[in-house]
Amino acid sequence: MELLTNQILAGIATGAIYACMALAVVMIYQAIDHLNFAQGEMAMFSTFIAWQLMQWGVPYWWAFLATLALSFAGGVIIERALFKPLANAPILTHVAGFIALFAIINSVAGLTWDFTIKQFPTPFGSSPFLGSQLISTHQAGMIGVTLVLLLLLYFFFQFTRVGLAMRAAATLPESARLVGINTSWMVALGWGMAAAIGSIAGMLIAPVVFLEPNMMGGVLIYGFAAAVLGGLTSPFGAVVGGFLVGIFENLAGTYIPGVGNELKLPIALALIITVLVVKPNGLFGRAIVKRV
């Protein structure tokens, strides 16, 4: 029984990473209606910027804020320069664009900062949290930040004019344009916000997985899985999905015989697909009813 609770706690701790990433994924999905495959690399690049600032002697929180602003600007610029001209291209062309972006960012980061593993500081410290050996204060801090972020996003989307306009632009672009919303800039804003949230995720994850250009590969896969499991239309679902995936993964690794680290990912994914087959919109996703 103690093993079970311990594994669940450990699962929640890793789940916080996935939840953070899933939140960024859902953000951009709400703004542009696509999954951005380059999201993880964008987050990785932001984290490297933060690291570089700190190397230059900037204190943690200033570097944090500067990275947030730079990532936001970067996201907007990428949208304006790369994806606005492709607005009318087929969806699959967009996906190819994401893959191109992935390759470029990964390669540039590798050349600039090379592929050696770097330490990334944590603002929360890494002592055991409340006497538990399984969750450190950093992981607890990460869970806290994710929840605060979720709350802020909820207020932004529900109670501000811009949030409402963004939701309108994503769900019904034509009608939104008719009531005077600048839908094109709403998409750019969505990119900026997703990049900023991604950078927070990156900076929180980096102390755990260490900083290097390929650090996001595995995390992004789990982030996608978590977002899809929770339902791509629901930020709340994304966070719950993230924690669930973390717990699943740990329990599968412990209780199913013959499952080493290698098979954890396929088993987690298989479980998610089973959930999807029963509930095709994810756990908290809204079913979009199509008019025939």
Binding site: L35, I91, T93, E262, A270
Partner: protein, 337 residues
């Protein structure tokens, strides 16, 4: 209401060609002559690369049938490719089956695998289907490494396959023989695919792609044709995988990762979704452009590759198909002047 709720998130694959899926008569003959003549003037290594080009073209074509034909998206093609490759390799090395005979067996096994996988995939569409197929692609290398199958698959080490000689004492190198062998199979698969898409079944698949509800209202068995498309696509990919194993002479789990699936996907987009001859152009992109990028800059090869890809999708959002249409348009203009 519940029936309506079932229909969720159907992302239509846009801008797929409605009428032209193949090249015209003259163009086909010209391409064929080029493909037959080219190896006569090339070195063995170039011929090997051209063989890989044809093999990937078959795999891209298979994805094109699935996505361009029936409107389903798959990131799991590398799994089918791996199953095909391992089937051929195991049959050749453990059972001494002739290499040519292993290909149809690989095709049949992959067809069955794809058809079965298509069953649960029926309920998913769009990104959800992408995730499911993606899961398949990430799981496959791990499954191939499992200890239970190590006796057959060789585990992490993989299997070495002997390269076939040219039969009947034909005076050509192994590489050249393999190229022509692959070419013949490619042509067979291409003709089969064009005829498939032009047939009743092909029209049913395209009707599902354009509007699933309308198609089912017209009496198309949506479930049957969607799973059939998955099966056929997997079967063809399996044949490509088998050919790949024979050409590379080696199969190992890590050759068939998600990167292969992504490459095949890029090949389809660059070639033009739903336009079968585009598979050749798309496959040329995935075989040769990484080499070009590498030669431009070693450290930044990924960035160069990405930049080339972005230029291509900016200039030709509909892939190589766009070039074909434009040139056809100009030729018609010239003739009718």
């Amino acid at each position: 209401m519940s029936a309506l709720q079932e229909i969720v998130d159907v992302t239509p694959v846009e801008a797929t060609p409605k009428k032209y899926i193949a090249l015209g008569g003259y163009a086909s003959v010209a391409v064929l002559v080029l493909l037959i003549a080219a190896p006569l003037f090339a070195k063995n290594f170039i011929i090997f690369q051209m063989t890989m080009w044809l093999i990937y073209a078959i795999a891209v074509l298979a994805l094109n049938i699935l996505t361009g034909g029936s409107g389903q998206f798959s990131l799991g093609q590398s799994a089918f490719y791996a199953v095909g490759a391992y089937t051929s390799a195991i049959l050749m090395e453990h059972f001494n089956v002739n290499y040519a005979l292993t290909l149809p067996i690989a095709g049949v096994i992959c067809f069955a695998f794809g058809y079965v996988f298509g069953q649960p995939a029926l309920r998913l569409s769009g990104v959800y289907l992408a995730l499911a197929t993606f899961a398949l692609a990430t799981a496959m290398p791990q499954l191939l490494k499992l200890g239970y199958f190590e006796h057959w698959t060789g585990g992490v080490q993989g299997l070495v396959v002997t390269k076939p000689d040219a039969p009947f004492g034909l005076p050509m190198s192994q590489d050249m023989w393999l190229y022509y062998f692959t070419l013949v199979i490619s042509i067979m698969i291409y003709v089969f695919s064009v005829n498939l898409l032009k047939s009743r079944s092909g029209r049913a698949m395209m009707a599902i792609r354009d509007n699933e509800i309308a198609a089912s209202a017209m009496g198309v068995d949506v479930a049957l044709y969607k799973t059939l498309a998955f099966g056929i696509s997997a079967g063809i990919t399996g044949v490509a995988g088998g050919l790949g194993a024979i050409a590379v002479q080696f199969v190992a789990p890590d050759s068939y990762t998600i990167q292969l699936a992504i490459a095949l996907f890029l090949g389809m987009v660059v070639g033009g979704v739903g336009w079968l001859p585009g598979s050749l152009a798309g496959s040329a992109f995935i075989v040769f452009v990484p080499n070009i990028a590498e030669s431009v800059s070693k450290g930044l090869s990924g960035a160069v590759f990405g930049a080339i890809l972005i230029v291509i999708i900016f200039v030709l959002p509909h892939g190589a198909r766009q070039i074909a249409y434009l040139s056809q348009h100009w030729i018609n203009k010239l003739i009718h002047k």
